[in-house]
């Protein structure tokens, strides 16, 4: 006797819904994505390596990952502070701030890109005051970082906020009554509890930043070796009809995002374990 693979259920529709789900997933996501893998098999490893080790490609990968790391760190630090302010304190305009935090999710990236350029270009809103000080932001890697901070802003706030809201005040009261001062209670009791959520938000912001294109290309200036991001290199290769070159860079990026996805998943499992809440 074999055990049925699917437990019997009185609810109808299993075959239809799962069948449609798998077919649609296959057609829209899996088959097209496998095209990348198929295309790389056209290349020998030597050819693949030749593309990946081009100085311009190496510089773009370094820039994409480096700028994303810095941007995600900035978002980690300030995002935690903003989440703390939104959960623990009352201040005028709090509701509006809370609503607008999600703006980078909803605002098209091209719009963010031209707006940031208008602010940081040398005759821009902020740029005109920084230019005399010798600080250039637009058309430099710093500008890229600013764009990546913008698009990653909601992640840390939105992962830390619910954990902080659910946090039992009694834990802090216990810490205080056992003689901890406020700083000790925050850094030794509260922070360890929200750390997994903070790291999850950081990793999500980082992953999003690495692949980002629209908000960056306007402010980046796109100078070879200086301010060209990896997604732009893929587009440059495509415009030269160098499909294998574009695919090689895509494979490297897909591989690294896949590792990031695994890290995010285990961080979320850690958050769930530490706080007892599902994510």
């Amino acid at each position: 006797m074999t055990r049925p693979l699917v437990k019997q259920s009185v609810i109808p529709g299993f075959g239809v819904t799962l069948g449609f789900t798998l077919a649609y997933l296959g057609l829209i996501v899996l088959i097209p994505l496998s095209a990348v893998v198929w295309k790389t098999t056209d290349l020998s490893f030597a050819q693949f390596w030749a593309v990946i080790s081009e100085p311009r490609v190496v510089a773009s990968l370094k820039l994409s990952f480096g700028a994303s790391l810095i941007a995600a760190s900035v978002n980690g630090f300030f995002g935690l502070i903003l989440a703390w302010a939104l959960v623990r304190y009352e201040f005028p305009g709090k509701k509006i701030v809370d609503t607008l935090v999600d703006l980078p999710f909803a605002l098209p990236t091209a719009v963010a890109g031209i707006a940031l350029t208008a602010i940081y270009a040398k005759n821009g809103w902020i740029g005109q005051y920084l230019e005399p000080l010798g600080l250039k932001i637009a058309f430099t890697p710093t500008g890229i970082m600013i764009a990546l901070i913008f698009i990653g802003l909601p992640f840390v706030v939105r992962t830390v906020q619910p954990v902080l809201e659910d946090l039992d005040k009694e834990i802090e009261e216990a810490a205080a009554s056992l003689g901890a001062n406020r700083a000790q209670a925050v850094f030794k009791v509260v922070l360890p509890i929200i750390l997994p959520a903070l790291l999850t938000g950081f990793a999500l912001a980082f992953a999003r930043a690495v692949g980002e294109y629209g908000s960056v290309i306007f402010i980046a200036g796109n100078l070879p070796m200086v301010s060209e991001i990896a997604p732009l290199m893929i587009i440059t290769k495509l415009e030269q009809y160098d499909y294998s070159g574009a695919t090689s860079i895509a494979v490297v990026m897909l591989f690294l995002s896949f590792i990031l996805l695994l890290i995010v998943n285990s961080l979320q499992a850690w958050t769930a374990k530490r706080t007892g809440r599902e994510i």
Binding site: P108, F150, G211, A250
Partner: protein, 298 residues
Amino acid sequence: MAGGIATALGAKSIRGNQRINNATTESPWVRRLIIGTGLFYFTIFLLLPLGAVFVEAFRKGVDAYLAALVEPDAMSAIKLTLITALVSVPLNLVFGVSAAWAITKFNFPGKRFLITLIDLPFSVSPVIAGLIFVLVFGAQGWFGSWFLDNDIKIIFAVPGILLATIFVTFPFVARELIPLMEAQGKEEEEAAIVLGARGWQVFRYVTLPNILWGVIYGVVLCNARAMGEFGAVSVVSGHIRGETNSLPLHVEILYNEYNFAAAFAVASLLAVLALLTLLIKTYVEWKAAQVNAQHKED
């Protein structure tokens, strides 16, 4: 006498509260510093760019603003963006509901893995999302020569834009509904079946009312991304003015032509769309919290 005791007790409890409050919150100046830092970060990185869109859009006056929006290329970009959303959102809605139904109402092996696969498009760079469709349907792609022989254009044409948009907006509805329907369980549906309801009736009268706000939430977010997608669409569109130019791509073209006021005018349309999205999202969250509270009271 009694009043005296109450006052004494009251006074004591107030003092007690104060002590606990001091132990579990920060001193006023630390509090101000944290709020100030949070708001500074929020203003510089988020509020300022939003404001810049609208100020720059009206820099050359209301007439120039309106002219940029009614100009034929802008109108055709608006049309293409609406078509894109009208095709991709309903498809992903049907997919999301059906995936959530299969995943939450039944037990089968590989469920976790399936959920991870559904989330996959979120972790793929938009540029790569465009690239994969060029590799499948482009002139040198898998089916490229067949489509070429039959004179069907997918890449650098509207179908390519639709496919790329469907890909990047793929998970929105599903990932909203799966946790929601998971939490609601399947007892209500099972009861309806036992009472004699047919499959479709169960969905229409039992499940749908329970997940309606979740559906709206997912659709609104899916729509915002469908209308605003830039990277993926940019790779497959070919940037043909009046034909394969969506609103975000039109913003780019105007901007690269140094037609800044017009670029920001079109961008402001998209910014209004984003603000509307956030407004509906907040309303739905508020509504869902209300429904939740009511359930708890029942």
